[in-house]
Subunit: 479 residues, 4 copies
C-alpha cells in the first residue's frame, strides 16, 4: 500500500491576493477574502497587518483554515491595514520559506508584498542585483521587486514603484502594504484579475469579486492594466506605470480557473463560461441522448451546450468533495484509483445512452481517459467529448502552472490521435474564434498564448523555473 | 471576531460501517470504504483488524484522512479481517471515547463492533444490565449489544446474536469482527442500508454501494432485513434473527442522505431522487423561467423537476467546497455569513428571472430563508420553492439526527406560514404518496415516520439520549 | 541512521497515584501532584474529577506536561474531587487504551480508579468473570477490580470494596473516585507507598510525600497496609480490609525507585539510601582515591560510602538531562552511544585515579559495563564497583518492572563472573542484612523477593503478563 | 489557575554552533552535536547541509528533539557538509523567523550561517546598509554579516570575510557553510568558545568539546581568537582577521554556562569550577556542619569548597529534571512555586545543621531567596551562602543574556543588603582575583565586564536591541 495524491491533471495555478484598508479589524476580512479565494492556492496562506506603527505577520502551510487555525492568530494581527496571500502548490515539496506575503524592512520601513503572476525577466534582473551585492532568501521571483524598490534612488513610493517595474516584465497583480498604505499594482497587460471593493468606508483589493461577496462588500471596479492604486488616509488615489500597451487578459481564467460566481475583467465568469458551451454546441453538434459535465468546473459550459443543442443535461458523474491524500494497495492501478476516488459514474443515467461529455480543457488527457473508460463501463453506448476551449499546445509564462510541452497532449498529438487515446466516439474542441467570441463582451485584448504559442511578451529565459536558486535551497520548517 | 461552524441545517445522521474478509491487506480496503462513506460520518473514524490470532485497533478523531494520517497506521492493522466505522458528530463535544469500532474481550475472545442505527429500548436494557453488575464505559447504546452477547448462555455465535437481539428493539445495520469471522447483521425492519460485495475472493460489507465502487468490488446484494451474514473460512453463510416483520427501510436515505451514485435497498439513489423531482413537478407546477437546485444534494431532484416541467435547468448557486470552521466579525450576521460562505448566487443567471428553487427537504428552514433572500438580492424576480419530500414533522428514533419537534419548522407552522417565513412567492412540498411512488420500484415497506409521526416501533423511552450516563462522563484524550 | 531509545537498564516500574478531596480546583492540585510524581511513570497521564454531579476525564500520552498541555484542559476538569495517574511504559507500544484513571458507570454511578501495583491472581479472577459474561476493554488487571465491585451484592461501598479485594491477591495502592468521595486503598502487605496530606481543609492521597511538598500540603501519615480511607463530606474515615498479615513493604523503593526527597513507609528515602552507602563501605572497603556515583540515583549512597570510608567524593560522571529519543549513524555502536548520550566522564577528575563507582543496583549490567569502559578511557587507573543492594536474582510480581530471569545478570553469573564481564578491578554488593539494616528504622517487614526469590505471595500464574488479552488487543488512537 | 514558566533567574545565554565537513551523513553528526549543546539554546534548532550542488535546510522550534522529530528529516538533509544552530530564548515570543542557520543566496551561491555572540555596532552598520538599499528580513544582527559579505568587492571568500568583519565589532564564534566548504570564524577577542575536532577523516567545529565526546570525535584544538578556519577538499586551512588584540575570553562560561565535562578555551571546565570553589573556601571560611550545592551547576564548586574547607559535602537539595511549563493555582505564590517545582530540600540532611550553600552566581537573587527560605523551613540551623564568582553588577554586550542593571541585585545593593534580602546568616562572594586565579591555567586574557563594568569593547549603541526593527516586525508561522 502506498499514498497517492489525487490531484488530477488540471492546470493548477496562480495565487490569490488580498488587501484591506480602513477597518479596525482588517485581518479578519483579509482572512475571509482568502477563504473565498481558496481555489487560487492551497499550499500556504499568510497575512501581514499594520496598525500604523508595528506590522504583524502570520504564515502557515496548507489551507486558510489550517494556517489560521485559531482566532487568537487573527486577533494578534492588529491594525487597520492588511494584505494576504494564498499560494498554490507547484511541486510535492511544500515550503513555508516561500510562503507570502513577504515582509522586509527597507529604508522607508516595513514593506509586505503579495504577488499573483510571473515575471519573464526576473532571472537576469536577479543576476544583476546579486552581482551588485544583494542577497536572496527565497527562490521566488517576487523577492526581486523588494530589492528593486529598496535600491531605487527615487524619493516617493510611486516613483519607486515605477522605477522598480520599469525593470521588470511579466504578469503581476500585486498588493503591497506599508505602515500606512495599501497599494494595488497591475501589470500593463493585465494578465491576472484584480479588483476594488468597498464596505462601510473600508476598501478592499481582491483577486476575484467572489471575495467581496463573502465579506459583504460592494464591487467597485477592476484595477486597470498598468494602474497603481494607493489607498491611505487621503483616500484612493490612482497612478500609472510608464508602459502603456494593449491589454492581454488571461482567457484561461474564464475557461477554467476563476470561480463561476466571480466577476473578473469586469465580466461575469459564469456568463462567459456558458457562452463557451453554447459556441461549442454550434461548432460541434452531435446526435446524442444526454449532455453531462466533468464536475464542477465544466458544469456551466455543459449547461450552455445542452441548452443550445437541445440535448438533455444530466448529472452523470458524482464528484467526491472529501478529497486529499489516499492510500492504495499495490494491486490497484494508481491512475484508475485517483480518478475513481474523485468521480463516480451514475449508472442509471448513463446506461444505454449516447453521452456528450463536456470538459473545459484537456491538459495531459490522463484523467479524461480514465473518466471516459468509467462512463463506458457504466453502460454508456457512445461517448462524445466536447471541450469548451481549443487544444492547449504551449506552456504559460505568466503564472498558469501548465506542464511542459512534452506533457501537453495537444502539443504532441493530432485531434484524431487524441480521440483514439481517449477511446471515444468523437472529440470536438472549441475554436479559438469561438472562444474569443464567448468572452469578448465589450472588452478586448486577451492572451491566448497557451492555445496559440503567440506570446505577448516572450520569456527572456528558457524556463520560468530559476535554475540557479532551485539548485540553491531546499528548506523546511517545523513548529 | 469569533468562530462559527458552518454546518447548515440538514439532518446529519447516521454512520458508515464496513467489513472486509479474506484479503491479506484487509485494512487498506476498510480504509478506502470508509473514505467513500465519509458523508455518513465526520466526527471520528476507526478500524479493527484481525490476523486470526491478534486483533489490532486504531481510532482517530476527524475525517478518515485525519484519523489515518500515515500509511504506517494501516500497515500496523494486520490481517485478513477488518471492520471500520465513520461516526457522525452529534454535538459540539467530540469524544474519542465514543469512537467505534468498539473492541472488547469476552469469553469467546475479542469482539469488535461497528453500528449504524439506534435502539429504542437500550435504556431499560442497560438499567437491567447495570443492576446485574455490568459496567459501562461509554454513553453509546451500542455497548449494550456487547454485554448481551457476553452474558448470553448460548453456545454458538449465531445463537448468542439471536439471544442478544431478541432483547433489543430498533434500527441496526452492524458489522462484527471476531478473530476469524466478519458478521453483518441487519434489524428485521431494515431501516439502514447495508450490502455485500466481492473482489478477488475477498468479501465486503458496506453501508452503501459507492464504497464497493471505489474499492473496485462487485455489488452482490443487500443484506436482508433480519438477516445475519457470517463470513469465515467456510464461506458466506446466512442466518436469520427470530423476529420477522414487514420491512421499514428509511425513505429519507433516498431523499437526502445516501450518495446519489450509490445503490441502496437494491435501487439506485439517483433514479429515485430524479423521480422525486419529476413527481414534484407534476404536483406543483409553476410558471417560471429557470429551475435551480440547492447544490449538491438537490441537484438530481432539480433536474427531474426541470425535465418534467420543461423549464430550463440552471446553476444559480455555487457551492464552496472548502468548508470548515470560519471566523467572523461581530458586525457580521452569523446567520447570513454561514450561508454565504457555503453558497454564492450567480447573478448573471438569476437577474430578472422567475426562479424555481428545488430543495430536498426543509428541517429548520433557516438556511433556505437566507438562500432565498440571497437569490432576491441577486435579482431574481420571483422565487418559488419546491421541496422533493413532504414536511418533516416528527423526530427520528432510528438513527437520523433531526432536531427536536420544537425546532422542526413544519411541526409548528402551516405551509402558508412557512412560505411567509421564507419570504417566497410560492412553496410546494411533494406529497407522501408522490414520495413513496418515486422510491417504490419493486420494493415496498418504507419508514416515513419523520413525515407522518407514524412510528413502526415506538420508542420505549422519552428520549434516545441516555440521561443517566450523560450526567456521568465527560471524557477527552490527547495523544 | 536510525533511532534509539536511550533508556538504560534500570528497573522502570510502578505508577504514581493521586487523590484530592475538598478543594474547588481539585484538578490543578492533582496535576501538580502528578508532576511531582513524574518519575513513577512517563507513558501516560490522566485525571478524573467530579463536581458531585458530573464527572470529567482527560487522558493523554507522554509526560504530565504533554498530556495536560493547556490550562483549559484543567479548567474543564471541574469539581472538588479528583484522582490522577501516571503510567509507566512497559513496552515500545504506548497505548492510550490502557491509560488510567479508568472510568466506568456501574449501578452506584460513575467510578474512577488509579492503581499502582500488580495482582498475582487477576488472570484466574478474570477468567471467572469472563465465563460469567463480563466483557473487558483493556489488558490491564486493574479492570478486574471494577467488575468485582460492580458485581458485588453488598450494599455499601466499603463492603463492596472488601468483597472485591477478598477475591484479589497482590500489590495495590489505589485511589478511587465516586461522585462524592475519594477512597484510598492499600493492600494488606503494603508493598507500594501511599500517604495522606492536608492543606487548607482539603485532603490529598499521593504515592510519595514529594507530591505534598510541591502542592504545599502537610504530610499526615501513611495509609496503613490493609487500610481503606474514605474521604467525603463527613471527613476522613478509616476502614480495614479483611486480611491481616505482616507488612511487606518494597525495599527496592528505598534502593532506587522513590525520589530521595520523599518520605515513604514513614521514613526519609534519603536517610535510608545514605545508610545503604555507609553499610556498603563497611562491608566492602577498598584502597582508592575517589568515590563517584552513577548519577543521580546513586548520589546519596555514594556520599554515604565516601563519608564512612573517608575517601573523597567526586563528580566523575556528568548526566545529560535533555534525554529522549536520539538518532544514530549505523557506524556508531548503539550500546556505546546510548550510554554516552546520558553520561559523560570528567577527565580531570578521573585521570590517574583509583576510582570507586557506587551504583544502586545492577539489572542487566550492560549500562554499567559501558560506563566503566568510559571511566577507563578517561584515565581511571583502577575501577572498583560497589553496589548498594544485593544481587537481583528474581523478577518482581508486585509492580516493579524487572526483566525476566534470563536477563538478570546476577541470576546467571557469579559475582566474579560479573566482575569480569564489567571489566573492573573489584566488585562488591551490599549484603541482604546490610540492606535490611539500613532501611529498618522502627519499621519492620520488607519484601526482598527480587534479591532472595522468597515471594511473600507466590504468583498464581506463570507470568504477570496476561497471555489471553495480550493476544487480544493492540490498540492505538490519534486525536 | 494560570501557567508559569519555571525558568529561574540564571543567565540564559548564548547559542550553540556546529559545523561538519567530510562525512557522507554530515547532518546526523550535526544533529548529535546540537543534542550535546542543548544547554546553550532551547528555543529553536536548525541544520543546513550541502551535497556540493544543492543545499538543504530544516528549522524547528523547541528542543533539538522537537525540531528534528523524525529521522526522515535528517535523511533529507543530504551531503557531506552541515552547519547547525541551537538558539536560546530571549523573550516570551518565540519566532521561527529568527531561527538559525540563516540561509541566503549571494553572488557566490548559497551561504548559511550560525552565530554565537553579539555585535556592538550592528545598528549603525545596518542603518548604513539600509540607506544603501539593503533589505532586512529578521531582527537579528547576524543578518548584517550576510549583507556585508554579499556587498564586498573582494574576490575570495577569505577576503570577503576579512572585509565584512573589519566593519563589525563584537563577539562572534561562527560557522559558515558554502556549497563546498565549512568555515569557522572567531572574533579577535575570542569571547565565545569554539573548537575543532576530527573523526574518521571528517572534521567538526563545535561550541564546546562535549559535542565531540558524544559524536566520538577527537578534540584537536581551539579555533584561536581572530582565526578563520576554512575546511574544504584541500584540507583545514587557517587565516586571520585583520584586527589583532588581546584575548578576552568570557570568564562566565567557566563560572556557569558551559557544561562541566567540556573543555573550553583549552581548559577543563570542571577543573576551573572546582578551583573556584577552593578559592572561595580560602576567602570565606565558615564554621558549619555541611556544604551543599544549588544543583547541578554549582555541584563542582561546592565539592571544591567542601574539600578545601574540610566540611562534609552533602546533597541537601534535590533537583527535579522533568521541568517545563507548570500551571498553578491563584492561591499559590508563583515565586515560591517555581522554585519548589525545581528544587526540594532533603529534610534528613538539613535538620539541625549549620549549612553552607554554594551557588555559582547571583543574578536577581529571587530564586536563592526562596531556596534559603526552603532550607530554613526544612530545619537548617544556620544558612551561609557562598558564591563562586564576584557580584554581577553590569550587563553583558557580548552574548550573555543578563537582565538590565536595574534587575541585577548586586548593582543596587551592598553585600550586607543582599545578605539581609536573602535572609541568611552570612554571605561571601569570591573576589575578582580569586576567580581569575582559578581559571588562569596557562592562559590569560578574560573578559570580566559583568563583574567590573570594564568593557573591552564598549557598545556603540545604547542597547543591543534594535529599536527600529523591533517596531517593524512581529512574525509567526504555523506548519
Amino acid at each position: 500500500m502506498h499514498a497517492i495524491n489525487k490531484q488530477v491533471d488540471k492546470p493548477k495555478s496562480n495565487c490569490g491576493v488580498v488587501g484591506v484598508f480602513g477597518h479596525p479589524d482588517a485581518s479578519i476580512f483579509a482572512y475571509q477574502a482568502l477563504y473565498a479565494l481558496q481555489h487560487r492556492g492551497q499550499e500556504s496562506s499568510g497575512i501581514v497587518s499594520s496598525d500604523g506603527e508595528k506590522v504583524y505577520r502570520h504564515l502557515g502551510m496548507g489551507l486558510v483554515n489550517d494556517a489560521f487555525s485559531d482566532i487568537s492568530i487573527l486577533k494578534g494581527l492588529k491594525g487597520q491595514l492588511a494584505v494576504g496571500h494564498n499560494r498554490y502548490s507547484t511541486t510535492g515539496s511544500t515550503m513555508l520559506h516561500n510562503a507570502q506575503p513577504f515582509l522586509v524592512n527597507f529604508k522607508e520601513g516595513p514593506l509586505a508584498i503579495s504577488h499573483n503572476g510571473n515575471f519573464v525577466n526576473s532571472k537576469s534582473v536577479r543576476s544583476r542585483l546579486v552581482a551588485d551585492g544583494s542577497i536572496f532568501q527565497t527562490t521566488s521571483d517576487t523577492e526581486v521587486v523588494l530589492h528593486l524598490m529598496a535600491r531605487s534612488r527615487e524619493e516617493t513610493i510611486v516613483k519607486r514603484i515605477r522605477d522598480a517595474f520599469a525593470q521588470l516584465k511579466g504578469a503581476y497583480s500585486m498588493v503591497l502594504l506599508t505602515r500606512e498604505s495599501i497599494i494595488g499594482i497591475r501589470d500593463p497587460r493585465g494578465w491576472r484579475p484584480i479588483c476594488l471593493g468597498r464596505k462601510d468606508g473600508a476598501h478592499f483589493i481582491v483577486s476575484e469579486s467572489c471575495a467581496l461577496d463573502l465579506i459583504g462588500a460592494e464591487y467597485l471596479r477592476e484595477i486597470e492594466p498598468g494602474e497603481i492604486v494607493i489607498i491611505d488616509k487621503s483616500g484612493v488615489n490612482s497612478y500609472w506605470l510608464e508602459e502603456q500597451v494593449e491589454r492581454k487578459a488571461c482567457i484561461f481564467e474564464y475557461v477554467y480557473f476563476s470561480r463561476p460566481d466571480s466577476k473578473i475583467f469586469d465580466e461575469n465568469v459564469d456568463k462567459a463560461r456558458r457562452k463557451l458551451g453554447k459556441n461549442l454546441a454550434l461548432e460541434h453538434p452531435v446526435d446524442a441522448d444526454i449532455v453531462i459535465a466533468v464536475p464542477d468546473s465544466s458544469n456551466t459550459a455543459a449547461l450552455g451546450y445542452a441548452n443550445r443543442s437541445g440535448i438533455k443535461f444530466e448529472i452523470g458523474l458524482i464528484r467526491n468533495h472529501y478529497v486529499g491524500r489516499t492510500f492504495i494497495h499495490p494491486d490497484q492501478s494508481e491512475r484508475d484509483f485517483k480518478v475513481r476516488v474523485k468521480f463516480n459514474p451514475v449508472e442509471g443515467v448513463l446506461k444505454g445512452r449516447r453521452v456528450v461529455v463536456v470538459d473545459d480543457s484537456i491538459v495531459r488527457g490522463t484523467t479524461l481517459k480514465q473518466l471516459t473508460k468509467m462512463l463506458r463501463k457504466a453502460g454508456a453506448k457512445e461517448v462524445h467529448v466536447r471541450v469548451s476551449s481549443p487544444p492547449i499546445i504551449s506552456p504559460c509564462f505568466y503564472g498558469m502552472d501548465f506542464p511542459t510541452m512534452d506533457e501537453l497532449i495537444a502539443s504532441n498529438k493530432t485531434i484524431e490521435e487524441i480521440r483514439k487515446y481517449l477511446g471515444v466516439d468523437s472529440l470536438g474542441y472549441l475554436s479559438l474564434e469561438g472562444m474569443v467570441d464567448a468572452v469578448s463582451n465589450d472588452q478586448k485584448g486577451f492572451c491566448t498564448a497557451c492555445f496559440t504559442g503567440d506570446y505577448p511578451l516572450p520569456p527572456e529565459e528558457a524556463s520560468n523555473k530559476l535554475k540557479y536558486e532551485d539548485a540553491g535551497t531546499i528548506s523546511n520548517n517545523t513548529y
